[in-house]
């Protein structure tokens, strides 16, 4: 793959791995894509919605539904794509495990975008294990060109072997750009749904023979892996042989330009005989892989002597520095010049934006001195100081279930809250709320409704009124939904009005049973950037008490002049202040005024 050759013959683009998957879908004639947003997978479906008009794509309320939608299209003889982040595949694992039995009709590729280093996730699980668990083939691109090419390859494997194909990306593959040469475009027809209960109705009597089929298919896939050029040998010096795949492969190629490589494009099932023959040709065999010893353990179980995790470690991304240090430590690379330690510089943790509608809710929630079970989204940042108003964050929708369990073993001395965003509530909070009503939990659920999937960059969902493809859509009525689930005490609050929020939190606690507070106000950034008249701090009035800083608003900093007592005054950055009006409510000295007010004073 020499991207620099004959540039005049083919179109060349600089694409991220996610954009390349979108181009791959266009070239493979994929008909449908469905998924749920999750970093680092989100841009795949967004790019398709923008750039591949011939393809239908949609956001589903969660990954399980998304995979079921894609499977329904594949059952109907269309080519389909399912996308999610690594933890999203946990949600979609239920359909995935049995899809392995039913197989498909049209090609089905299931993207799992893993996040080694937890750049934007709650764990760094290694989803290669899902391939072995479900007995499915897994492709793993190492750059954008392969991310594009492997989509068509995956569709072909899926149709040839009647199997869903797992497609593993990682943050470094999804979000790195490289040169991609365009290829031929296929136009596969949609073959339609053919009734076949023995294949598609997975009752025990039908599923038992399908399990036998799964095992036979795995044998055939192993044979395919042995001969496929997805798994290629690149001979170099035979003193050191490397087995690697994905993001780890390109790091290894750069650090060890002289070594021999067996580059795996297919992470499961492994071509063990090809690897064994390769191992016999080299003096020392090293497996270079991120996270778990997924390849290494299979090689060792097959009796192939190798090294691996002694060099690469189990944690995080395999950066050039970490790989280099491991290779030097094990005598596989000469010591290079020492890299200086970085300077100690204050951290910049992510914060709720200026004007964020969640800020006032957390500011008051902290004062309630309850136990607050949290969830996943921008509002997870409410757990950080100075707000420090959320006590747990486990998985999508967990807040309500956690709160129910805590309430059932509570001594009743502290109120129990759940905080959950609108997108997360629709993803997997509704069933938790139904549980709370059904099992008579004594909890208060605060739905932080900013009308968008904000943390991942502003995606549509069933209460935004639009679809991924930009069409107008039914806009779910959250209050009606909550009442239909059986909640009797529902309060609507004005998010930026602290007294109103406080009154609602107290009334909800007094209600025995499930109460819901709907805190609805639009995100300050999306879909429109909110910018009202900003506030400023009147220098003479500010006593340097720091109360306004307790809001954690990034527009306020302690960079003003000193008071007579030597206390530093606060300053508001009028460029970034959105004028939400929260901080003036915290100031006992009336020192925070609208910028225009000062002119008239």
């Amino acid at each position: 793959m020499e991207a620099s050759q004959k540039p005049e013959e083919k179109l060349r683009y600089l694409l991220s791995g996610n954009e390349a998957v979108a181009l791959g879908c266009r070239e493979a004639g994929v008909h449908l894509g469905a998924g749920y947003p999750g970093t680092p997978s989100t841009e795949i479906l967004e790019t398709i919605a923008r750039m591949v008009p011939e393809m239908y794509v949609q956001w589903s309320p969660n990954e399980k539904v998304g995979l079921e939608v894609a499977a329904g299209a594949a059952f109907s003889g269309a080519r389909a794509l399912s996308t999610q982040k690594h933890v999203g595949l946990n949600v979609a694992a239920d359909p995935l495990m049995t899809l392995a039995y039913t197989g498909v009709e049209g090609g089905l590729v299931v993207v799992t975008a893993d996040d080694p280093e937890l750049h934007s996730s709650q764990n760094e699980q290694d989803n290669r294990h899902f391939a072995r668990f479900a007995k499915l083939p897994m492709l793993e691109p190492s750059d954008s060109q392969e991310a594009k090419d492997y989509i068509a390859v995956g569709m072909d494997i899926s149709e040839e072997f009647d199997v869903p194909v797992l497609f593993r990306m990682t943050t470094r593959i999804s979000h790195s750009k490289g040169i991609v040469e365009a290829g031929e475009t296929q136009k596969p027809a949609i073959r339609g749904f053919t009734k076949n209960p023995l294949k598609y109705v997975m009752v025990p009597g039908h599923a038992r023979p399908r399990h036998a089929y799964v095992e036979e298919r795995l044998v055939k896939l192993r044979a395919f892996a042995e001969t496929s050029d997805l798994n290629r040998i690149e001979w170099g010096d035979k003193k050191l042989g490397i087995v690697s795949a994905g993001a780890a492969y390109v790091q290894a190629r750069e650090k060890l330009p002289e070594a021999s490589f067996l580059k795996l494009g297919m992470s499961y099932p492994l071509p063990l005989e090809k690897i064994r023959a390769f191992a016999e040709q080299v003096d020392r065999l090293l497996v270079i892989e991120e996270l778990d010893p997924f390849f290494e353990e299979q090689l060792k179980a097959a009796g192939i002597v190798c090294e691996g995790k002694n060099v690469t470690g189990l944690l995080g991304e395999l950066t050039p520095g970490r790989l280099g240090a491991g290779l030097v430590r094990e005598g596989m690379l000469g010591a290079s010049t020492e890299v200086a330690e970085g300077a100690e510089v204050l951290p910049r943790p992510p914060v709720l934006c200026p004007g964020c509608p969640h800020r006032g809710v957390f500011f008051e929630l902290k004062k309630q001195r309850g136990n607050v079970f949290g969830d996943i989204g921008c509002y997870t940042l409410g757990a950080l100081p100075p707000l420090s108003a959320m006590d747990t964050c486990l998985d999508m929708g967990a807040s309500i279930g956690n709160a129910i369990g805590a309430s059932k073993v509570s001594d009743g001395k502290k109120p129990i809250f759940a905080t959950i965003g609108d997108g997360t509530f629709l993803h997997s909070g509704m069933t938790g709320l139904l549980d709370a009503v059904y099992n008579r939990a004594n909890i208060t659920v605060v739905i932080l409704d900013n009308r968008i999937t904000a943390m991942t960059g502003g995606q549509e969902h069933p209460s935004t009124g639009h679809t991924l493809m930009g069409e107008e859509a039914f806009d779910v009525d959250l209050e009606g939904l909550v009442r239909a689930l059986g909640v009797e005490h529902v309060e609507n609050v004005m998010n930026h009005d602290l007294e109103d929020v406080q009154a609602a939190l107290q009334a909800a606690q007094e209600h025995q049973g499930v109460s819901v507070i709907l805190a609805e106000a639009p995100c300050a950034l999306m879909p429109y950037k909110i910018k009202e008249t900003p506030y400023e701090i009147i220098e003479d009035a500010c006593t340097g008490c720091r109360l306004c800083l307790q809001t954690g608003c990034p527009s306020i900093s302690l960079t003003g002049t000193l008071t007579a007592e030597g206390r530093q005054r606060a300053v508001i950055d009028t460029e970034t202040c959105t004028g939400c009006g929260l901080c003036p409510q915290t100031c006992n000295d009336h020192a925070i005024m609208l910028v225009s007010e000062e002119v008239t004073v």
């Binding site: 020499e2 991207a3 620099s4 060349r12 600089l14 970093t39 680092p40 750049h119 934007s120 750059d143 943050t171 470094r172 979000h175 790195s176 750009k177 490289g178 040169i179 390109v250 790091q251 190629r253 750069e254 330009p257 950066t319 050039p320 520095g321 280099g324 010049t337 890299v339 200086a340 330690e341 970085g342 300077a343 510089v345 204050l346 951290p347 910049r348 943790p349 992510p350 914060v351 709720l352 934006c353 921008c378 940042l381 100081p385 100075p386 960059g457 950034l525 720091r546 800083l549 954690g552 608003c553 990034p554 306020i556 900093s557 302690l558 960079t559 606060a570």
Partner: protein, 199 residues
């Protein structure tokens, strides 16, 4: 030996780091180089640190600049320059925007914004060029061109054809701002060239 050029662009979410690195990577490709670019999205929109790696040469494998091998670092913010200073190669150049963005955490008791981050960076990087990009953009009449002005300063370290830069910038900046951004780009290049010559 495959000589790869390693560029590192750092700053704070919202400053335009991603735009500058997208233009740089596209220009490198148009100049005939194999090119890779890597950045981590996700939390950057919430005031976090943003760091983008751009690498080009005959054949680039890894999208990540190895520690201590950045030939040029372009820092949009002073403290971020210091944070990344150890990543610059011996003999490398750091181009630092004088802007300070003080995070909320500095208002607490545990962390302070560094007093002289550019001075401290000089102890780690052989050549440091300071540019007051916001002030220079004000003089040019548009504060929203900081990103392209700083990219112009970086361009003085590279030998890409001026026509390539112009074509890529025109295709990437908002409609109606093309000429202003090209003027900012030229100003950045001029300032960096003068600063290096003055040493």
């Amino acid at each position: 030996m495959n000589e790869i050029q390693n560029m590192l662009i750092v700053g704070v979410g919202g400053q335009g780091v991603i735009l500058a690195s997208a233009i740089l990577a596209q220009a490198a490709m148009e100049a005939g180089h194999d090119t890779k670019q890597s950045e981590v999205h996700g939390m950057s929109q919430r005031g976090g640190t943003v760091s983008s790696h751009v690498r080009f040469g005959e054949k680039v494998w890894s999208p990540m600049v190895p520690e201590g091998e950045a030939h040029v670092m372009l820092a949009f913010e002073r403290a971020e320059a210091l944070r990344a200073a150890h990543l610059v190669a011996p003999g490398g150049v750091a181009i630092v925007n004088r802007q300070s963005i003080i995070p909320p955490i500095a208002s607490g008791k545990n962390f302070a914004y560094p007093e002289d981050p550019i001075g401290d960076s000089r102890e780690r990087v052989e050549r440091v060029i300071e540019i007051d990009a916001l002030e220079e953009c004000r003089k040019l009449g548009n504060e929203k061109m900081v990103s392209v002005l700083l990219l112009g300063a970086l361009s003085a370290q590279l030998d890409f054809d001026g026509a390539i830069w112009e074509k890529v910038i025109r295709s990437r900046v908002p409609k109606g701002t093309e000429d202003g951004n090209l003027a900012a780009f030229a100003k950045g290049a001029e300032l960096a060239t003068a600063a290096l010559a003055a040493r």
